[in-house]
Homo-oligomer: 272 residues x 2
Amino acid sequence: MNLIKTHKTFNGVTQFWSHPSKSTKTEMKFSTFIPENPTGAIIWLSGLTCNEENFITKAGAQKYLSEHNLMVICPDTSPRGLNLPGEHDAYDFGSGAGFYVNAETPGYKDHYKMYDYILDEIVTILKEEFKMTKVSIMGHSMGGHGALVLGLRNPNVFRSISAFSPIVHPSACPWGEKAFKGYLGENKEEWMKYDATELMKLGYKHDQKILIHQGTHDEFLTKELLTTDFIDACVAQEQDQEAVFCEEYDHSYYFISTFIEDHILHHKKYLS
Amino acid sequence: MNLIKTHKTFNGVTQFWSHPSKSTKTEMKFSTFIPENPTGAIIWLSGLTCNEENFITKAGAQKYLSEHNLMVICPDTSPRGLNLPGEHDAYDFGSGAGFYVNAETPGYKDHYKMYDYILDEIVTILKEEFKMTKVSIMGHSMGGHGALVLGLRNPNVFRSISAFSPIVHPSACPWGEKAFKGYLGENKEEWMKYDATELMKLGYKHDQKILIHQGTHDEFLTKELLTTDFIDACVAQEQDQEAVFCEEYDHSYYFISTFIEDHILHHKKYLS
């Protein structure tokens, strides 16, 4: 691992790292905040167009992580430095838009293994490099989708799950359909493995309450996010969940910064 | 005034605005955060390379402004959309580097009137558009210099002054010498009007304590910022000041985010 930058922040350090990834076969970057005495770690998965910088610079999370002795790690959202067919043509596919799946389509299958990257490499880095064995997961939008899918499929790895404005039903929305077709191909059976609502319907549950915050003025709510599809599936499966609809808030980091303390307190219950 | 964007944030709104400026003869932008019931406003002046976005996205100030009922307004750091000789050649002169002076050199004197822009236009906008008559001023680096100079020369306009990592003695450091020569010319008498340390030596004081936070690991501390020059001048003039040297912190917004609550509480004393 290569330490790129260190900034003292509250009682800890904000840091930027790079390392060679065996999942993506590229150099990957992530950021961390490590308070004085961390008792556990939260993985933050970012949304479309983001990289390892967005959360750590904009969410204002360091104050609360510092107060509650929790570490955060923020991976990049896709491999970088490649030039696959169509990889850089749109904001919602390819670079900056890995969707936390293991791709199976030509070209992408050799590098876009973001599901494995988070589950195997980031979790291992937390354990071996940062000595963090208690791990939870959260994310925003595409990263909220990633947090739900990774958390539901691996409840023994991730102690708790939360999401801001998650894409909860990707196989039923334009962003998800485009990404899944591009990364997974036409076989929709494959898509189900990466669809939180479909996984919930199939009985993939988590022991702890799943916390979701969703702005009512989010421009993507009705077309892309489909929040209630997941809530309905949770209710049907008796999965404990708390979906907080926040009046007037949008899809931005201004919204996230307002409610990030609630998510950190949620995960703290399972990480301390 | 043209409202560009609005984002609900904590109990208020983060907004981005543009308006035609009579000082710069260009369209200027600024951002604001307005809590539910503001009692006063703080002007934030940003540093080199910044614009109206940096503070409002990175400082994490909205939480505290919301709690303490204070508005913030963050102007851009220079005129934009021009093409003056040398204006876009370096990060520390021209665009993004207005230094809050009234330029007197050819070309620049027609537009780079950032001192007047803040003192006349931003203060007037606060009063007339936002109904804020109680105003304080703070800033970072080049903007810390701007806050000190504007505050010391106009103690009846600005109720209190604070700064992060300010350039306190620009006529004695490379950043300031380059900027002042480019905007003000060779006559160093002119430079004194925009040099906080020299103004303090001349007896320009403020009734309230001036608060400064400075990181000890700031790479610009000894060559560009020269913090102790201003402290010495304050001591000689019996100006109340509190300069907090923060061990291990650098020049970044991670540092600012750690201590911004202290500055908001400082100004609150004079704005409530």
